[in-house]
């Protein structure tokens, strides 16, 4: 399983459960997907659908206990990360797989200078000396567009604005030129203009370095503009998986359709916004059948009785639904 097939990352049957007083929460339940070198994968879903847990599982940052990766494989460049000893996985974190977190306000250490936090990375992974690391840090800050980088490097995080802090996070994540960048809702906490800048920056840097990106978000607009493939998650399962263009034009799952309908259309007249009725299910107490059935507008008896199959609609498109083919045809697709 080397990189001959072009897969940088391959996840097979990953299950991450959390033991709570309320029972076992199956935050991620039997997920498989691949990511090719240089590609961008979007993961969308409502809050609590298991997007973040999936990605924390990849670099083994699930808090244990209560969390536990129950089974599965995370094959990165041919090695199963779940089998590596702690020491080895630490060398991969930051060096080969880097992460950007949702809230730039809290993901920088308030007591450490920006420069120190950036230098820590390269001193740790690239064996830089202090002077080298400092130069590298300043260069990275310039790359991500911090004005007066040399002067601002010794500031503390509170002296930076939210957008600038997210730029610092990106600089930090990319400073060792990782092969995979996991961006966990990188723009959720930022305002719209800054969002666009940050996304543009990630895009630009990705092209420059050939890094693969996993972009977690609940903003479908971001997914449309940034990604090659999309995974739609719900209740710890992959509900639909397709190329981005296909997913937006020919959705094969009622849940995806609902999500797409929920995006407000700025050109439409003022009126009621569509929302999927109900709330995401409690993943600790899932009933048999499709977890989306109670909220689905085309649910039938079988949906409440049996767990839906993962239907292959074409080479690149799968959907978890009893009526995947029908939904796909309604959208205008021709199931294989």
């Amino acid at each position: 399983m080397t990189s001959t097939d072009g897969n940088l990352l391959e996840i097979k049957n990953l299950r991450t459960y959390f033991e709570t007083e309320d029972g076992t929460v199956k935050a991620v339940d039997d997920i498989s997907f691949q990511l090719k070198r240089g590609e961008t994968l979007g993961i969308v879903g409502e809050s609590g659908s298991g997007k973040s847990v999936t990605n924390l599982s990849i670099i083994r940052l699930i808090p244990e206990p209560p969390g536990k990766i129950v089974s599965g494989e995370v094959i990165f460049n041919g090695t199963d990360l779940l089998l590596l000893p702690n020491e080895a996985i630490r060398k991969i974190r930051g060096r080969r797989i880097a992460m950007i977190f949702q809230d730039p306000m809290t993901s920088l250490n308030p007591f450490m200078k920006i420069s120190k936090q950036l230098m820590e990375m390269t001193q740790l992974h690239l064996g830089h000396t202090k002077a080298q690391a400092r130069e590298h840090a300043i260069r990275m800050l310039e790359t991500v567009g911090i004005p007066d980088a040399r002067m601002r490097a010794d500031d503390y995080p509170h002296e930076f604005s939210g957008g600038m802090r997210q730029r610092v996070m990106i600089a930090m994540a990319l400073s060792c030129e990782p092969e995979l960048l996991i961006a966990d809702e990188p723009t959720t906490a930022l305002d719209v203009t800054i969002q666009a800048q940050i996304l543009e920056l990630i895009k630009k840097l990705k092209h420059g370095t050939g890094t693969s990106v996993i972009l977690i978000t609940h903003d479908l607009g971001v997914v449309a503009g940034m990604t090659d493939h999309v995974i739609v998650m719900y209740a710890g399962k992959i509900f639909e998986q397709a190329r981005t263009t296909e997913l937006f034009s020919l959705p094969g799952n009622p849940y995806t359709k609902g999500l797409l309908r929920s995006v407000p259309d700025p050109t439409a007249e003022q009126g009621k916004l569509y929302q999927i009725p109900g709330l995401p299910p409690d993943v600790a107490h899932l009933k048999p059948g499709c977890p989306f059935a109670p909220r689905c507008d085309r649910a039938e008896e079988i949906c409440r009785q049996e767990f839906p199959p993962f239907v292959q609609l074409n080479a690149d498109h799968c959907s978890l639904c009893h009526f995947a083919r029908e939904v796909y045809s309604e959208s205008g697709g021709v199931p294989a």
Binding site: I59, L61, P65, R90, K91, I92, R93, G94, R95, A98, M99, F101, Q102, D103, T106, S107, L108, N109, P110, F111, M112, E120, M121, L124, H125, D148, M151, D155, Y156, H158, E159, M169, M172, A173
Partner: protein
């Protein structure tokens, strides 16, 4: 730089100290000049200076510390005697002179605090006692910082069973009546030399002083470790040791400093108490506790023997407590409003 402030500013618009940071952030940029933000420490320092009691404490502690350090040397240079100098050539029956009185009963600058039973200069003894008391307080506090902070941070960060075990050890040590244990320890291993006894005292006080510090730091780390920057640091491959000591411990600094300043007087009081009971500092070395113990035997006849060490100690402890309270308010402005 626009750091200069209108001196009447605070009278004109009352800005609560909590908002001082925000106020500092919106200062206008003059021309192209780069404006530095106010750091946490400078801000805290400014708030501390507004607190009259804390400033009083700071000054008194400063004076007493300085006097204790250089005082005995100055007295030696000026009058030619050390704190343990016992005059041998004089034949008077009573050697304890009142303040500002010489052997002939006339006014003299030689002994501003009088002398003790053996004729030793009280001022020199009080200053030397101050040296030892402050030294004991500071060393024990450093021990509590070193052991307490590491212990608490590790327990809090690792969590789970390890945390449980480590904190139960602290609980057990807490529940022991430590004064009694210290007394037993000090009298069991009673050292032959005064210096040995002093080291024993350090060990005894140091071994109990870190318990509360460990609890405080553990609590802080427990709430800090779930913050995203710790996860971010872990995601960049930083080792646990480094996360604890480079990322978490500096973040607990505020409460740690406050508690440390309040530990110093507490330890000094314990030391005085032990010395008063006769198990701590031994003559010819002096501490405020042992001086008070000596003085209390003659309180009716020679009251200055008790008054001077007693007042000095009370003043120092008051001042240290005021300073600690002031620091707490300055470093954590939210706490005051609660």
């Amino acid at each position: 730089m626009s750091t200069k402030k209108d001196p009447n500013h605070d009278e004109l618009i009352h800005i609560p100290p909590e908002m001082a940071v925000a106020e500092a952030d919106v200062r206008p940029v003059e021309g192209d000049e780069f404006v530095r933000g106010t750091s946490l420490w400078r801000d805290a320092w400014r708030r501390l200076l507004k607190n009259k009691l804390a400033v009083f404490g700071l000054i008194v502690v400063g004076i007493i510390t300085l006097a204790s350090i250089i005082g005995p040397t100055v007295i030696k240079r000026t009058f030619g005697f050390t704190p343990d100098y016992i005059p041998t050539n004089d034949t008077t029956l009573i050697r304890s002179f009142p303040p500002f009185r010489g052997p002939d009963g006339k006014f003299s600058w030689t002994h501003p605090m009088g002398t003790d039973n053996a004729g030793r200069d009280q001022l020199a003894r009080v200053l030397q006692g101050g040296q030892i008391s402050l030294f004991v307080g500071i060393i024990s506090t450093l021990v509590s910082l070193l052991i307490g902070v590491s212990y608490g941070a590790i327990a809090g960060y690792v969590g789970g069973r390890v945390d449980n075990l480590m904190m139960r050890v602290v609980d057990v040590l807490y529940s022991l009546p430590y004064i009694i244990i210290v007394i037993v320890l000090l009298s069991m291993f009673r050292s032959q030399t005064p210096r040995g006894q002093l080291i024993l005292l350090f060990v005894a006080l140091g071994s109990i002083s870190w318990l509360t510090m460990a609890r405080i730091v553990r609590g802080q780390v427990l709430s800090l470790k779930n913050q995203e920057f710790v996860l971010a640091a872990r995601a960049t491959g930083v080792s646990n040791t480094r996360i604890i000591f480079r990322h978490l411990v500096p973040n607990t600094l505020g409460p740690v400093i406050v508690y440390a300043t309040l530990t110093i007087p507490q330890i000094m009081l314990t030391e005085a108490f032990l010395s008063f009971l006769g198990v701590g500092v031994q003559a010819p070395l002096a501490s405020w506790g042992s001086l008070a113990a000596d003085g209390i035997q003659n309180i009716a006849i020679f009251p200055w023997q008790l008054i001077f060490p007693g007042v000095t100690m009370a003043l120092t402890l008051f001042s240290l407590n005021f300073l600690g309270d002031g620091l707490r308010d300055a470093l954590d402005p939210q706490m005051r409003t609660v």
